[in-house]
């Protein structure tokens, strides 16, 4: 009997030794010496890589933001300010920018950040393929601390492109030295990647050589990967994590639950994604502009926004995020005006309404119900078909719907993607207006720049106002939960910089 028990124990020890390898379980974050300077940051999934030039995933980008310094960045009033560059100046026709790099700008290993580092980083092949660096024609470094960028064509929004983490800088030659996806040799951002083994925790340490390192309060950032939103919320409530980030935003019910807990708070930032009601123009009734105008005036966008997002009602898709300086004030969502809507219906080819099917995933079921009751006023009776989330995006792309919900947050995250919305030939096409007028106007606007572009975009906006290729419903916002005694600055254009946070 003893022989047998010994054998079982040996088997168990062998298996568990193999399993946990030689590493002792990770210690419990840096020992905080009285002053709390660590923050446990939750994100949904472990990023697949921290390669600043290739990383397509949202979470990877968020971490690159913290560890790679950029020439310029947004402040909390969404104005472009210098980060690694002290100052910059355009030439008159917006084809050349000259940056003056800060004297005290250093990498996390203490070496100086010079123009050559930028030139090296911007001239790797993956940089050339990156849309944000595509406009750069050539670069010069008159001296160590000045960088001159010559653009292919006059492009005023190039400055905006340089605020994204894609245009971060790494020490010259470091791309070849290490596999950049797992981390660079030295970091130019406020934080440096201290420890990251796949599957284990990811820890960032404050970069001592950061140009304003002295007022960075949080010294260590310990990332926790929790995929299930409910578990993350449980962790936040039990004080195991301090900041609940998820991927792009947290859900409505999490916001409600946090609201009931005074130890927690939420913070919101405008997001570049809009929720919209897409209309399939293959259906004659929806091809009639009067019907679209009628529906546009009948939708109660306040109620729809309340049930489907933490964001705000609104509708047009022309946001600062995409258009940079030449952003045209958006056409705000029209107020509900039933009489005018009924007039439009009467003027339309279908005065006494028609039947239409609205496909919706479970997360927009509530909004669908409101749309159904709103359109019923016009005699349009909507049957709601709930479709499985796994096939929702595919069926929208293939145009396999009459009316359907769509949000752009998870579909496009850069300019070209946005333009393609209107290109009938593009893979992602929403059957917007049977002809390609809106696409022609859109591509024309982007072939020019400066004042002509603004004029072209205004013309495009007016066309959309009149023709209504889709019905904008709400503007999503990114909302996150965090520990109430943590000060979180209002988020700037490109999301959250942890450097600005501190414990109260």
């Amino acid at each position: 009997m003893k022989k047998f028990l010994a054998l079982i124990l040996a088997l168990v020890m062998a298996l568990s030794l193999v399993a946990c390898g030689e590493k002792a379980p990770a210690d419990d974050g840096a020992a905080d010496d009285g002053v709390k300077d660590t923050i446990r940051f939750q994100i949904k999934n472990e990023p697949t890589s921290v390669d600043l030039q290739n990383d397509g995933t949202v979470l990877g980008g968020f971490i690159c933001d913290q560890i790679y310094g950029k020439l310029v960045t947004f402040n909390d009033k969404s104005e472009v300010v210098g980060e690694l560059a002290e100052s910059w100046e355009w030439n008159d026709d917006f084809t050349q920018i000259t940056f003056k790099i800060r004297e005290n700008a250093k990498f996390s290993d203490g070496s100086d950040i010079t123009a050559d580092d930028f030139i090296y980083t911007f001239s790797t092949d993956s940089a050339k393929a990156n849309t944000y660096m595509a406009p750069i024609a050539s670069m010069e470094a008159p001296d160590a601390k000045t960088l001159v960028l010559n653009l292919k064509s006059s492009n005023s929004s190039m400055l905006k492109f340089l605020t994204t983490y894609h245009t971060g800088v790494v020490p010259a030659g470091s791309m070849e030295a290490t596999d950049i996806a797992r981390g660079a040799t030295a970091y130019s951002g406020p934080y440096a990647l201290a420890k990251w083994e796949l599957g284990q925790d990811m820890v960032l340490e404050a970069n001592p050589y950061w140009y304003n390192a002295e007022n960075v309060a949080i010294k260590t950032v310990d990332y926790e990967f929790i995929a299930d939103e409910n578990s993350a919320l449980v962790a936040l409530e039990s004080g195991e994590i301090d900041f609940m980030y998820m991927a792009s935003t947290i859900g409505i019910t999490s916001v409600e639950t946090i609201a009931t807990n005074d130890k927690l708070a939420t913070i919101a930032a405008d997001q570049a994604t809009a929720g919209m009601l897409c209309l399939n123009f293959a259906m004659p009734e929806l091809d009639d502009v009067n019907v679209r105008q009628a529906m546009n005036l009948a939708l109660d966008r306040a109620a729809i926004a309340k049930v489907s997002t933490t964001g705000v009602p609104g509708g047009n898709v022309f946001t600062a995020e995409y258009f940079g300086d030449d952003y045209i004030p958006g056409h705000d969502a029209p107020a509900v005006d039933l009489e005018k809507a009924k007039e439009f219906m009467a003027a339309s080819g279908y005065p006494n309404g028609f039947d239409v099917e609205l496909k919706t995933p479970v997360m927009f079921s509530k909004a669908a119900a409101i749309v159904q009751s709103n359109l019923a006023e016009l005699g349009i009776n909507v049957t709601i078909t709930e479709i499985d989330a796994s096939i929702w995006v595919d069926s929208m792309i293939k145009g396999d719907y009459q009316m359907g919900f769509m949000t752009f947050g998870n579909l496009i995250n850069d300019l070209t993607g946005f333009i393609n919305l209107y290109d009938p030939a593009a893979a992602l096409h929403f059957n917007f207006d049977s002809d390609s007028t809106s696409f022609d106007l859109m591509s024309a606007a982007f072939s020019v720049s400066g004042a002509d572009r603004t004029a072209a975009l205004t013309e495009f906006a007016d066309f959309c106002e009149a023709d209504l290729p889709y019905l904008g419903l709400f503007m999503e916002n990114a909302i996150y939960g965090y520990n109430a005694d943590l000060y979180v600055p209002t988020p700037s254009g490109c999301g959250y910089d942890i450097a600005g946070m501190y414990w109260k």
Partner: protein, 325 residues
């Protein structure tokens, strides 16, 4: 004994190959367009086709399978469809967590299940037996994901005893391990109870009593040793049930194990990652089954003698004979 082990090991290879064929065939039925997923929705169709070509998706089925197996032999599970990350690294980093939870769960299940089973067998038809059997039955049927959620709510939110996520401190192990082990505890109790009852009815128990042995030694020395044999057979099956359960437990307690990989690859339709995880888990379950079979053969002298081979016994007799004369 070694001939038997070798034979079983040889049998392992076709089974693991069979598993890879099964999983690969299933996954190749999956309509999926890795190019589109990787390059994003606004990449041009040619770029997408080029990428698919590079992955070799257009080759005939058996060529693709052959390449896949060639990769497997070199322990290279190919590239994930999402973010092009190598599946290998992800699996190698996720495997320890899952194995830790599964092994500890197996031990916990065995250590709690067996004594309870014995107790309720020895005290048959007593109140304890009735109560324990019903609890064991409920434990065996409780849905894992529901149990974990409820436990997390109770112990983390209401009582603040246990941490909610991860496997950092030993306390963090408690809920995941018990969650994974719950079903197996139920099965072990039922299995050990019925095998103990069978053994207690056998004649050699009466012989032991007739020898004047204490009741305790009759139960533990004689009956338990025999019933352990049939209980160990369920060890192997239980281990693969445990691994099936990790998908849910790791999801609720945010453990970066293979279970989380599987859930993530389901939502991303990431086929190489899913098949990689499933094949690794299947391989481990097959290996553990083999280990359990060997343990079973070791425990049961009838089997062991058969594989020790006739030679040994014959040799013993020959020696005895030439001693005698």
């Amino acid at each position: 004994m070694w001939r038997y082990i070798l034979k079983r090991l040889l049998w392992l290879i076709p089974i693991i190959l069979g598993v890879t064929l099964l999983v690969f065939a299933l996954m190749s039925l999956k309509p999926g367009d890795p190019g589109r997923v990787y390059l994003g929705l606004n990449a041009t169709q040619e770029a997408v086709d080029a990428y698919n070509e590079s992955l070799g998706l257009n080759d005939p089925f058996f060529v693709r399978y052959f390449n896949y197996v060639k990769g497997l032999i070199k322990l290279d599970f190919g590239k994930s469809w999402v973010g092009g990350e190598s599946v290998n690294d992800r699996i190698m980093s996720a495997l320890p967590q899952t194995l830790k939870v599964c092994v500890y769960a197996l031990v916990v299940a065995f250590i709690t299940g067996l004594p309870i089973g014995i107790l309720s067998a020895v005290k048959q038809y007593s109140l304890a037996d009735r109560v324990l059997t019903i609890i064991a039955m409920i434990l065996a049927c409780i849905p894992v994901f529901w149990l974990c959620n409820m436990a997390a709510m109770l112990f983390t939110l209401k009582l603040h005893w246990l941490p909610a996520t991860g496997l950092d401190t030993w306390k963090a192990y408690i809920m995941p391990v018990i969650g994974t082990a719950a079903n197996t505890i139920g099965l072990t109790v039922r299995m050990s109870r019925s095998s103990m009852l069978d053994e207690m009815r056998k004649d050699y128990i009466r012989t032991a009593r007739a020898k004047g042995a204490k009741e305790g030694s009759v139960i533990f020395k004689h009956a338990l040793r025999n019933s352990l044999i049939s209980v160990t057979t369920t060890l192997g099956v239980n281990f693969s049930i445990l691994m099936g359960g990790t998908v849910f437990v790791e999801n609720v307690y945010a453990i970066q194990g293979l279970g989380t990989c599987i859930v993530r690859s389901i939502s991303n339709n990431d086929v190489p990652m899913l098949s990689g995880c499933v094949i690794i888990l299947a391989t481990f379950s097959v290996i553990v089954n083999l280990l359990v079979d060997l343990l079973y053969a070791y425990l049961d002298p009838r089997l062991r003698a058969k594989y020790v081979g006739k030679k040994k016994v014959a040799k013993a007799r020959k020696e005895a004979l030439n001693d005698a004369n």
